[in-house]
């Protein structure tokens, strides 16, 4: 079966985020960018499904400026078979991303779509669910285990208070949580091979999707910082402070 994986180019998770002095956003100039960590887990899961003989082809798709082809190439180096780049320099929000992915789903007809549960920039946690709704598919969000069984997929989900397993008719959408797998690193030969794998480019206009934003960001500020408090000498002093000064126990 064909598996579609969506990946997003975001600020590298190790980079310290800085708010621009004019409060218009986060400073991304000359900042290291990388594949969103949850998307790496999505790619890894697809590759594992292929290694198990469940998936036959992995198509990776990314939305954004020309530079996201780097992240598509990374996914190809990890084991995806071909890439689709939906090129746009505009800000694309979750609903519009879901509409673009829906257009790709209509064309490619994958049996399974795997996405990260959220991107570490906007922290929305929406696109997979929106895609599933638009495509009329079931969804297994925050997955920690994915087992394809005939025309169904069982997804174990990380929910408040524990785990919950759902059975979804295929085609379906899965979004990844941290414990689903541990992504591999791309080997140098595979990075070289990835350069020759097919990568098609399209645009929101080609796909007939209007990506105009619905949510306008008025300002972005740095969070209020906490002041460091005091160091206590020992446990007895700590308990005394908590009881008599902070009065929280």
């Amino acid at each position: 079966m064909k598996v579609l994986v969506a990946v997003k180019r975001v600020i590298d998770y190790n980079v310290k985020v800085r708010v621009k002095p004019d409060n218009s956003g986060v400073d991304l100039a000359n900042v290291k960018m990388a594949m969103n960590p949850f998307c790496e887990i999505a790619v890894e899961e697809a590759v594992r499904l292929k290694e198990k003989g469940v998936a036959t082809e992995i198509v990776v798709v990314s939305i954004g400026p020309k530079a996201c082809q780097e992240q598509i190439r990374t996914a190809l180096a990890l084991g995806a078979d071909r890439g689709i780049h939906i090129e746009t320099d505009a800000e694309v929000q979750s609903l519009e991303a879901a509409k673009l992915l829906k257009a790709v789903v209509d064309k490619e007809e994958p049996k399974l779509v795997i996405l990260g549960k959220q991107s570490i920039d906007t922290d929305n946690n929406q696109t997979g669910q929106m895609l599933a709704a638009l495509a009329g598919m079931g969804q297994g969000t925050f997955a920690s285990e994915v087992v394809v069984d005939g025309d169904k997929v069982n997804v174990t989900r990380e929910v408040d208070g524990g785990l919950m397993t759902v059975a979804l008719n295929l085609p379906a959408v899965v979004t990844t949580d941290l414990r689903l797998n541990e992504p591999r690193y791309a080997s140098l030969p595979n990075i070289m091979k990835a350069k020759k794998k097919p990568l098609d480019t399209t645009t929101p206009a080609d796909l007939g999707v209007d990506v105009a934003v619905r949510l306008t960001t008025l300002k972005v500020e740095a969070p209020a910082t906490r002041q460091a408090g005091i160091k206590v000498a020992d446990v007895a002093e700590l308990v005394d402070k908590l009881k008599n000064e902070a009065k929280v126990i």
Binding site: Q129, T165, L215, L218, A222, G229, K231
Partner: protein, 313 residues
């Protein structure tokens, strides 16, 4: 304006987070209704009717909603949406699961994880793991919003007297089914709602050592949490994770044990009223946010803490 709040519950009790979401609804202003969708959830509806500021509780009691499957729940909410300007749910794993579907089916953007209401169209939400705070304005006719419970002080859970009305619509999308669940059974309070939380990090060294924290938690009536490092290392399950990718908590007292204070962890707990850090590395970033820091070996300090607390409590 009329606001629909979707109650968070487990078919028997109303989750306290619902009261925080009602506070966000109150800040928007307008007539507030609550939807209780579940199976055999009449008791939850009665509890919701007592919450402050609620005028009407809608109850959709059907097996299709028993496990809160997003495909079915979203169909129901879309069916009811015409009467409301704002649709709100708590940003827990249930709200995050079904509400984006509602937004997509209504063809509106969702505003995730709000921590403040500026006006009926404008909201404040953390981005980049809480390293930046964005103020966003929606141009959609309907606002679909998840609310971070720790951003709002809860409304009173008693004193209200809303009418309760049954909803007959049954939406079963037929594409998903509940198979099973493993819920952690614990006498300790729920992590997201606890007034005291004690969390362990990589410094705990293994899962067995978390028993030390559990013993302290039992003295304090606290919940036990963990950093992502401790979860990634396999010490404890992911539902204990406090941080950007886990639970966001804001208890009265947060005790971080063997946690260095990575930004991803701070994003989940820095709104706590009082923070205590116990770490042997005095340079650990956690001390920069802690009200009380103790530089000590946790394997000595935690048993001492248990003993000292037993003396005074």
């Amino acid at each position: 304006m009329s606001i629909l709040v979707i109650a968070e519950h487990d078919n028997s009790t109303l989750k306290p987070a619902t009261l925080n979401v009602l506070a966000a609804a109150k800040a928007i202003g307008g007539d507030i209704n609550v939807l209780v969708a579940g199976e055999n959830c009449g008791g939850v509806a009665e509890a919701a009717a007592k919450a402050e500021g609620v005028s009407k509780v809608l109850v959709a009691d059907n097996a299709a909603y028993g496990h809160f499957l997003a495909e079915n729940l979203s169909g129901l909410v879309v069916e009811l949406a015409a009467d409301y300007s704002h649709i709100l749910a708590a940003a827990g794993t249930t709200g995050k699961d079904f509400l984006p579907r509602v937004a997509a089916l209504l063809d509106v953007a969702q505003i995730s994880d709000i921590i403040r209401v500026e006006d009926a169209d404008t909201f404040v939400r953390p981005i980049y793991a809480g390293n930046a705070i964005a103020t966003v304005k929606s141009s959609d006719s309907k606002k679909v919003i998840t609310v971070r419970p720790t951003g709002f002080d809860p409304v009173a859970g008693e004193g209200g007297s809303a009418t309760v009305e049954a909803v007959s619509a049954v939406k079963d999308a037929g594409v998903s089914a509940f198979v099973g669940e493993e819920k952690a059974v614990s006498d300790r309070p729920d992590l997201a709602a606890a007034s005291i939380v004690i969390s362990g990090g990589r410094g705990m060294q293994n899962g067995d050592n978390f028993k030390m924290l559990e013993q302290v938690a039992d003295v304090l009536g606290a919940a036990v949490g963990a950093s992502r490092a401790a979860v990634d290392a396999g010490f404890v399950p992911n539902d204990m994770q406090v941080g950007q990718t886990g639970k966001i908590v804001a208890p009265q007292l947060y005790i971080a044990v063997g946690i260095s204070g990575a930004i991803q962890h701070l994003a989940g707990m820095s709104d706590s009223k009082v923070i205590v850090a116990i770490n042997k590395d005095e340079e650990a970033p956690i001390f920069q946010v802690a009200d009380y820091g103790l530089v000590a070996d946790l394997f000595e300090a935690v048993p001492q803490l248990e003993a000292e607390l037993k003396k005074v409590l």
